[in-house]
Symmetry: C2
Subunit: 273 residues, 2 copies
């Protein structure tokens, strides 16, 4: 089974999922599509988010993938169920893995969730957590500035810290959370800053890491892991500027030169354009 | 879908998986079978381990379970593949979940594994880890005294610590592991002692916690989670002395009075006896 795993995202955030997939499943080839041209999805309408997500899925299905990861929380919140119902391959979103990991980690049942406006508005994490355990107390907070911050490369330093501090202050003041879900795949890129601001006592969960873990579980369960020794080849597509995308990608994978050599970046032309 | 999850173990070790299942999947009913009469499985022959495991599986299949957890590393090492091939319900072992979690946590690719003689002899963890990533260095160590220690209730204190210290000394001296898999479901009961001996720098992974997490993933994927609000009812069977089993069970669930009220303990009469 040498087909690739497909990963779609509204932009570059899903690359944190790719990074974890490469680490946790080093034999698997990946095909990534980032809709950087139309990023962010967070503030968009449900209808638009669904339409864009289906366009991305269709693009990757043409490439004969064996599993689809919806590596964008906003797209997962609005479109995962439809995709799971209509596609014949397994489709994995980023919300349930983060929720499940949070339930595993929490000891006081108070869990915080930060995400884009769209994700928080969808209540997807609250529903996922409550469906596992009705006794969980959920503290959701929309952080609309974090995605633009990351896309601009502002990942640490005094200014970034100040912005994170200000955004998270309502959560720090009103809750007793012992676990915080990074409900947006951009956020692992500012995880250190978030951890510093929210206190070292709080377990910060990256939905990216947890999603990669579940892809491994599901592929093994379907007996579709790549058993061979062949080196994987990765292919990255962007709907936006290839130069900009390459630069950001290189930043994320800076410590993974081995992987990066096997990556091709191409321009994606979506069918519906 | 109100069927129960079935859990089999050679004795009481699998109760640590049950504990985590109750915590991570509080809506699910469980049926447990501990083969305390014939415990431990660790030193037994492959043939005997397979025969006993199938007898336990058959006993629970009669109870109409929706998923089977093989909560014993030794039984998983020798019988999981057969069970997965021959049963129509999902079957989950304790080895792959621990291996996957270890790969997620390690940063230096040096992973230690401790287990019974049978588990270590089977090389199951080494195979599981290498199949994920051939670059992983595995340090396996059999700890034949730990199961008898736990079954006797020796969980902490100077004597327990000394025994753990002595057993783990070859691993401490020869390896640079940053992650240690507790490759036996009895071991979470002495996790604090193991953590103390092996150093706080090493991430200790409980295959019990990780298995419960994967049961959640798989049940959700099969759309077989209990969606209702009905309180779960748990049923525990033992092939040995019910009084002894009840006492150990009570010890493990001492902080979970709510759960314990819903538990019935019965004597299991296996078909082949």
């Amino acid at each position: 089974m040498n087909k690739a795993i497909g990963v779609i995202d509204s932009g570059v955030g899903g690359l944190t999922v790719v990074h974890e997939l490469m680490r946790q499943l080093p034999k698997e080839s990946l095909i990534y599509l980032g809709d950087t041209l139309r990023c962010p999805y967070g503030p968009r309408s449900e209808e638009e988010i669904k339409k864009f997500t289906w366009e991305m899925a269709d693009f990757l299905l043409q490439k004969n993938i064996k599993l689809l990861v919806v590596a964008c929380n906003t797209a997962t919140a609005f479109t995962l169920e439809e995709l799971q119902q209509q596609l014949s391959i397994p489709v994995i979103g980023v919300i349930k893995p983060g929720a499940r990991a949070a339930v595993k980690f929490t000891t006081n049942s108070h869990i915080g969730v930060i995400g884009t406006e769209g994700t928080i508005r969808s209540n997807a994490y609250t529903k996922a957590l409550k469906s596992i355990d009705t006794g969980i107390h959920v503290n959701p907070l929309a952080c609309p500035l974090f995605v633009p911050m990351v896309e601009q490369g502002m990942l640490s330093g005094a200014e970034a810290e100040e912005m994170v501090e200000e955004t998270l202050s309502p959560m720090k003041e009103q809750s007793h959370i012992d676990t915080l879900i990074l409900g947006c795949t951009h956020y692992p890129l500012i995880k250190d800053t978030i951890q510093k601001v929210i206190s070292s006592q709080v377990k910060v969960i990256s939905s990216s890491e947890e999603t990669a873990r579940e892809v491994s579980t599901i592929l093994e369960f379907y007996d579709q892991l790549n058993e061979g020794e062949k080196s994987p080849a990765h292919r990255f597509y962007t709907t936006g500027e290839m130069g900009v995308f390459a630069k950001i990608t290189e930043g994320i994978f800076k410590e993974s030169a081995d992987y990066f050599e096997s990556v091709t970046i191409e321009k994606a032309v979506l069918l519906y354009y």
